[in-house]
Symmetry: C2
Subunit: 237 residues, 2 copies
DNA sequence: GCACAAATATTCGGTCCCGAATATCATTGG
DNA sequence: CCAATGATATTCGGGACCGAATATTTGTGC
């Protein structure tokens, strides 16, 4: 009934609104603007998505077409401008994005949650590989930040890269520590992990998995029903 | 031709493979297993998505239906098992996810990149709000980790929450610092930021925006073409 | 034993989004 | 001057995903 389509899922829509907050423009120009300001590093920017997003905003009356230039030369360029409601929505949305942290799912967090499925030696190799890649990225980011500073860009315009750097740095340090813990054997549970994979014996593996499964993993509500996992028709074979 | 559908986009598919690496099961049981192990905190888990993902994997011959139980009681439960190729894919994928860091777009990074669109006072309020929320989340996470430790779960099974905590902690500290920098006025560019929003004068605002835009924002390739932004037919009005 | 709620297990429709393709214009140089 | 290349600007098809709806069974109180 009220809002025809998407809510506040796609941050690209916010980017569009903020662009239009400054001046009316056509979609491609928004892309240019965002790229010029290196926002592509903080927002997932996709040429194809832009037009859909803008249309969506138009349906929700947050932006409106101001004029369509034809000029005979270029293909039609539709210039959009922000509406009253759009301006309000932009500031509200932005405010909310800062105020309310949402759960996110970084790749490495996901990967680590399954790391025991990998033999320790392979995990080690992979971690070292990531460590080097992260070091490289940190160097690149530091370079960009230095260049921006030298160009006279005030910090307030590059807060996002400060934070990004801090996060990557944290990840780097964590990975480094983890590598050490495995190398020195100080990681709690490492013998068990090794046992899983050194065992030629399938049943041991299976057993170990069940151990992991059977361990009481308390949720935040602290008392979780132990799922009774139905019938033991587990079959032979 | 070769792979009918999605590649390695959805980590839920990896979760499915890892589940099946341990034992054959039906989709709902995978969900149970993942929830029991609190993987829902590290993987975006959606009941509806599961079936689609599993079908996809079946098309790619990474899993196969082993048997379909009817039992007369419950609706049909199709039990899947992993294939040889599936097992290889799982380990490869996992290894890659660890080895190769991919660019990610945390909400706060996106939000900060537009923070100057917000009046400083509103930004301040929002930041303080987030700060409190993050503190709370940190406490919850610490509680869960302590509970897990007391329950005897070895660290190697909860690496993902260590990392998550480290990341949230970094974010918290960054937000705290930022609040201080604004409060004490030590943030570089803060007067400019204030000027944007204190000006009743529209033209000043517009001008300031252009300053931000005109500033040479060097990309990682260090020399970016200054986009000539086409014709100065900017129109009157 | 029956109504009602909760858990179990899966289906389905709509929508969002990505990437490739298209179409036009500008520029270069043979 | 026209073919080739690259930048400009937009369209489009189709797959993936989310969340709500659907069945069915189990449990609970009366």
């Amino acid at each position: 009934m009220s809002s025809p389509r998407s809510n506040r899922s796609n941050p690209l829509a916010l980017a569009v609104l903020v662009c239009l907050l400054e001046a009316p423009m056509h979609p491609y120009q928004m892309a240019q603007t965002l790229r010029n300001r290196a926002k592509e590093h903080s927002i997932r920017l996709n040429y194809g998505s832009l037009y859909g997003v803008v249309e969506n905003l138009e349906k929700r009356k947050l932006v409106q077409a101001r004029e369509t230039l034809r000029e005979g030369r270029r293909p039609e360029r539709t210039i959009y401008e922000i509406t009253e409601a759009g301006a309000r929505e932009a500031l509200d949305w932005l405010s909310d994005m800062i105020s309310v942290p949402v759960k996110e799912y970084p790749q490495l967090v996901a990967a680590l949650s399954f790391v025991v499925a990998l033999p320790p030696s392979e995990a080690m190799t992979a971690l070292q590989c990531r460590y080097q890649a992260l070091q490289l990225r940190l160097l690149q980011m530091a370079g960009m930040r230095r260049a921006a500073a030298e160009a006279g860009l005030p910090d307030v315009f590059s807060l996002e890269s400060e934070l990004e750097q801090a996060l990557v740095d944290t990840e780097l340090k964590y990975v480094g520590d983890l590598i050490d813990r495995i190398a020195t054997g100080s990681l709690d549970g490492l013998p068990m992990w090794r046992a899983f994979h050194e065992a030629d014996d399938e049943t041991l593996k299976r057993l170990a998995a069940e151990v992991a499964q059977g361990l009481p993993w308390p949720g935040p509500e602290s008392r979780e029903r132990r799922t009774p996992f139905t019938d033991p028709d587990a079959s032979s074979e």
